[in-house]
């Protein structure tokens, strides 16, 4: 599907979908027959990204930073080291950089040249992150992009865009929502959305969380 089509766009039977199914199947068959890939390893690679990595990892990191100022200090100094020091935590690759939202500055992450994304803490990127509209507009019109997500920052907030043009990766630490003082790390992690860690959303408020749980 074209990168700028709405993601819900469905293909006519017999168009790109079936063509791609056939072409991918053919290439996988060739690579398997020639002994280059093991289909069982391919299945496992898919299972990893569908079940083992995802934004729950980043949410735990953010929640820990909210409750533990010393951890937050280390996270901002060297995110790779700090994340890998979390007990019981799977390692992340180098070179992760954590950036903190404050009342003065809101951080947004983009990759204008391809789709670089901190997938070892957030999982694979959503379609919108990889889309031409996001990649083109975020560096020139971040307020417009935030508005596409229904986000309006308080007047006077500076916006800082991080274009991921190298192998460094960025994780936004959003501000802790008001009214969550004294919450446990687990409770706090449930408020931390994927989009808030890209800087294109805000964490859920306690009320939003309650309303979702009731549904």
């Amino acid at each position: 599907m074209p990168a700028n089509d709405p993601p819900t766009h469905k293909h006519d039977p017999g168009s790109e979908l079936s063509e791609m199914q056939l072409r991918v199947k053919a290439l996988e068959t060739i690579l398997t027959e020639k002994g280059y890939v093991d289909p069982a390893a391919l299945d496992q690679i898919i299972e990893n990204v569908e079940t083992r990595i995802g934004p729950h990892i980043g949410a735990r990191v953010v929640a820990r930073a909210w409750v533990d100022p010393e951890f937050k200090r280390r996270l901002l100094a060297d995110a790779t080291e700090a994340v890998n020091s979390l007990a019981g935590f799977n390692p992340v690759g180098a070179h992760l950089i954590a950036v903190e939202n404050t009342p003065q500055t809101h951080n947004v992450v983009v990759c204008t040249l391809c789709s670089c994304y901190p997938w070892d803490v957030l999982g694979l990127p959503p379609v919108w992150y990889k889309s031409a509209p996001y990649r083109s507009r975020t560096v020139i019109d971040p307020k417009g992009v935030l508005a596409d997500f229904g986000i309006a920052l308080p007047p006077g907030t500076d916006i800082r865009i991080w274009d991921s043009t190298a192998e460094t990766r960025f994780l936004v630490i959003p501000m802790q929502p008001a009214g969550t003082e004294g919450w446990s790390e687990e409770q706090l992690a449930s408020l931390v959305t994927r989009d808030s860690m890209v800087g294109i959303g805000l964490p859920k408020s306690p009320n939003e969380n309650k309303a979702e749980a009731a549904r």
Partner: protein, 219 residues
């Protein structure tokens, strides 16, 4: 290529960003297979991550724009396995293997795949001291190499400030050509929105790029 369609920062006309509530990890089964094939075929080390990116950037602009993310990955992978002599054009046309494969140094086994995927480390020992430090004023070079680069067009020839030194890393412009790591110092360089987008731009916006030392000159 450098000035190709992939370098999208600042372009107009692509319309709004459309978020998808409760988006699945993959939308089609073939996307999963492309993702897995891409990872598995990266294991033998025949091409670098930058060589992979360059193969996508070399797609014709119309093909690039008309293809979804995973279709681009597929088209790039198909090109690369042929370009590296792993698969023949005749085999792609026949949709099956016509001769035995060549020997690979490494192959992703099920055991490798069981391990949690980890991003590679692109930091390398520094061949010399860093030329810039945090706080230095720099101007990005106005370069237009016909080959792969990670200096976006919107940030060329612009005045910025070094905000942080990020260590010494594989230089994509060299690695994409198969010319080795050629490690270079990497900096976060911060630009005022008005430096990039002109006097009319929103003064509350700042943009940083991750810039390799060869992209920078002292201002």
């Amino acid at each position: 290529m450098t000035n190709s369609i992939h370098d999208m920062g600042g372009m107009h006309g692509f319309g709004p960003v459309v978020p998808e509530p409760n988006e699945p990890v993959f939308h089609e089964d073939w996307e999963k297979r492309v993702y897995a094939l891409q990872r598995a075929m990266g294991t033998p080390g025949l091409w670098t991550i930058d060589g992979g990116r360059a193969s996508l950037e070399n797609l014709l602009p119309l093909a690039y724009l008309a293809s979804s993310y995973y279709k681009r990955w597929f088209l790039g992978l198909e090109r690369r396995v042929v370009a590296h002599g792993l698969v023949g054009d005749d085999e792609i046309s026949a949709s099956r293997s016509l001769r035995p494969g060549i020997r690979l140094n490494r192959k992703m086994t099920l055991g490798d795949a069981m391990k949690r995927p980890l991003r590679g480390n692109f930091e390398r020992p520094a061949p010399g001291p860093a030329r810039f430090k945090a706080g230095d004023q720099v101007r990005t070079r106005n370069i237009h190499p016909p080959t792969h680069t990670r200096l976006p067009r919107y940030a060329r020839g612009k005045l910025g400030t070094v905000e942080a030194v990020r260590g010494c890393h594989v230089f994509p412009d060299s690695a994409a050509l198969g010319s080795g790591d050629n490690p270079q110092w990497l900096y976060t360089v911060l630009f005022a929105g008005r430096e990039l987008w002109g006097e009319e731009a929103d003064p509350s916006i700042k943009v940083s790029i991750e810039a390799f030392e060869p992209y920078l000159s002292r201002a």
